[in-house]
Symmetry: C2
DNA sequence: TAAATCCTGTGAATATTTTCACAGATAATA
DNA sequence: TATTATCTGTGAAAATATTCACAGGATTTA
């Protein structure tokens, strides 16, 4: 396992990792590729291929042992280093992400929230520290934040991204429809625009009916 | 243009469609593949290939005319039939989607919201009609809703999906981490789980540093 | 009218991803 | 111990997707 993992494998392995966490909690000790495939809605061969990219696991008749497999993904995906994230833009969406947190079980930690509306900051209550937007650079640096989640209005998106990148952020999860520009290829950007997704779904439906 | 479009092309074309809407509003009359590629952060060849899947456009030295191009995507993706959608689960996330709406300019219309908490329904104010969850079947059928957006807590997700599918929904945008089961291949499901996305981003960052 | 420039559209080459198909390993059974 | 059943891991094939590279059309310039 020295060359880099294909992007689709990374994605599936992340889903698999989360699935294993749940399965583990249910007390299950082993799983086979067929079960995993069914749960994730992919082919069993893909599962086996993805896993084999991380190394070998000995093939007992029972399949994979949950705990070691989970651990292997954990290491293989570099999840040992828990990443610290911040949310910029505390409107409804940003606020809802702040509150979901529980789901993640510490693989990524949201440690700060920013908004340009200072009055609102005072009103909000939250387990994580909230700061005015002008402190982005300062806080991102001082608190070693590696991931920025952008949930501001469209017009503000690129400006926020620039600030984050300037402050040395490593990854951005962009919820706005804006395609962010970055001259800095060090920064990984993922886009998650609801309405594009809705449109894609809508197109997929129409095309299926043709 | 008779065989079906590749999935990646559909996605890019949706983004392109949205981009063109913005560009059009700015009064621009023509665009070339280089410009589009830069805006969407993909290669110009991909843009040209995607577009050519929809038919030909004559190649003036100026590139594509915005209006006809947009129109061609519109038709090519089957967006003529504006789809009606509902949101199930009106917590923070669901509520925030209800309110974004403006963005979409009518290519998909959210026409109903459901929640099992009836008291909350009375409290909320919204431009779209809100109903208690037990009315899903009735309302989805009577109002011809084709898309369901699921923003309920994990435990409730599969149940909601079953109800929607039962009611004849055609597509689901699933915001929960649950991998929904459907015996009905007629239904198109897209998953949009924030925390998986965060995890994928986190993994991508780690792996890039290796 | 000829030359130069700037496009698109697209075969063909590459690169990437998925899937098939089966060898080999392990456990259970007789 | 032999047989059967059930897995994984993986070459090799097949399917998909991207990219190259360039022919040919349209416009501008000389």
């Amino acid at each position: 396992m020295r060359e880099k993992l294909p992007e689709p494998s990374i994605q599936r392995l992340c889903l698999l990792y989360r699935l294993l966490s749940r399965v583990e909690k249910e007390g299950r000790l082993t799983v086979n590729s067929g079960f995993l495939a069914e749960q994730l809605n992919v082919k069993a061969t893909s599962i086996r291929r993805d896993i084999s990219l991380l190394g070998e696991f000995g093939n007992t008749i029972a399949g994979y042992e949950v705990q070691p497999l989970k651990q292997a993904i954990f290491k293989g995906l570099g999840l040992e280093s828990v990443k610290r994230a911040c949310i910029v833009g505390l409107g409804r969406l940003g606020a809802s992400i702040l509150n979901y947190q529980g789901f993640l079980m510490g693989d990524v930690m949201v440690v700060a929230g920013f908004d340009s509306n200072i009055n609102m900051l005072e009103m909000m209550e939250s387990a994580v520290s909230l700061y005015p937007a002008y402190q982005i650079d300062e806080i991102v640096r001082s608190r070693n934040i590696e991931i920025g989640i952008i949930t501001v209005p469209m017009k503000a998106a690129q400006g926020v991204a620039d600030k984050l990148i300037q402050a040395g952020i490593k990854g951005i999860l962009n919820f706005t429809p804006v395609v962010l520009k970055s001259d800095n290829s060090r920064v990984t950007i993922r886009n998650l625009d609801f309405f594009s997704e809705l449109l894609i779904l809508s197109a997929a439906i129409s095309l299926k009916e043709r």
